[in-house]
Symmetry: C2
Subunit: 232 residues, 2 copies
């Protein structure tokens, strides 16, 4: 039988906040992990810390990973790539893709799960079943998550000793609106979440792809977003 | 056809130094990556930098990953676990195992390979085919490496766009003595390598498991080790 310990990957965005709310509602003992990886925007991480406090998690780790040294994404501090505001509707991978990000984060979450003895890792990966959701990140697809779980269990003490660490993505097949609805039902404090790629201050820009996606999600779900925007 | 760019994982130990020598001898353009992850011993990383200089690599990255925040290994700075000097001869996983270490390092190497456009990642993983080699680390086993390569290619832009990043472990089935022989043939400067788990100064201890394994490897290969020891 599964134990009730879970490692939750928490970025401070609304998807992972919802996942934390789900894990909390299921009665799990919460081990939460966030990453400082050279992302432009530090506001998201502030939110992650507030969410961890809010949910009175058992343990919270903020882990540094120097991905900005490697580069390759508009979300990292070392690049001159611009943050997009015109979400492409083709099927290409966006420039906000960070090479192997979820692979790296899940690997470190796997180490954490092994050390605390958690059988489960919850991640806010979202395949997206409509055009507007973030469906084009390869490391958010079910084929990847299944393959990674297999590799993780072959490469860790936990796995080779016959237990299994499961990777669970509760939002995988949900639309943004469904995510918002679920979170509102569970009372997730979205005030402590941040999605904007561009601003790092009190107000979200309302114009970047991440803001647009978020605002549309709230609208489609029939709710008003609770964070302040410059413009909408 | 494969291109001639390779990412080499370099710890500064003798295995990964040999792998770097092999990649160099094969004419690859060398992209080398090392990790500061809170290991007790900084001497190994000094060696990694010297090896990167020696081989005039195209690019060298030293990436910080805060694994000491997670703990769970005698090799990390935050633990009180003692470095073993009596290598257990049973089949259990040693306390120098660092949870998910190669998984994490390969993930970051995967990101680096993607950014520089390398088709190959070389790693010094060694399954060990005799009792004395480090055969008990799950993340150095072929089943793991194969599964991880699969996950990496499912979760990266490179993979989903139809190219493939290959993970190659040239030492996988070699004994320590065979590794030494190969390295000596290739002129690998073992003077710039460090294996000792215990000392961080001019002299290796000669007594810890890593020293014993190294010394035995040189002896079996018919060579004298070139680094200085307190005792042998």
């Amino acid at each position: 039988m599964n134990n009730k310990k879970v490692v939750v990957l928490l970025s401070g965005g609304m998807d992972s906040a919802t996942v934390l709310g789900i894990a909390h509602s299921l009665g799990y003992e919460l081990y939460v992990i966030s990453f400082y990886y050279g992302q432009r925007n530090s506001k998201e991480l502030e939110c992650a810390g507030k969410l961890a406090d809010y949910y009175k998690v058992k343990d919270y780790k903020l882990i540094t990973v120097g991905l900005n040294e490697i580069g390759g994404s508009a979300l990292l501090t070392d690049t001159n790539l611009n943050i997009p505001t015109d979400r492409a509707d083709d099927s290409s991978i966006p420039i906000t893709y960070v090479p192997a990000r979820n692979i790296i984060f899940l690997s470190i979450a796997g180490a954490y799960a092994e050390v605390v003895g958690a059988d489960n890792i919850f991640i806010g990966a979202n395949r997206g079943i409509d055009e507007r959701t973030q469906s084009r990140y390869p490391d958010s697809q079910p084929e990847f998550l299944t393959a990674f779980e297999d590799a993780l269990n072959k490469g860790t003490k936990t796995g080779v000793e016959g237990k299994r660490i499961k990777i669970i993505a509760p939002l995988l097949h949900m639309t943004k609106a469904e995510i918002v609805k679920k979170g509102m039902e569970l009372g997730v404090p979205y005030i402590y979440t941040w999605s904007c790629y561009k601003n790092n201050n009190e107000y979200a820009c309302g114009k970047c792809d991440a803001c647009k996606l978020r605002l549309q999600g709230f609208k489609d779900a029939g709710y008003q977003d609770v964070i302040p925007y410059e413009t909408q």
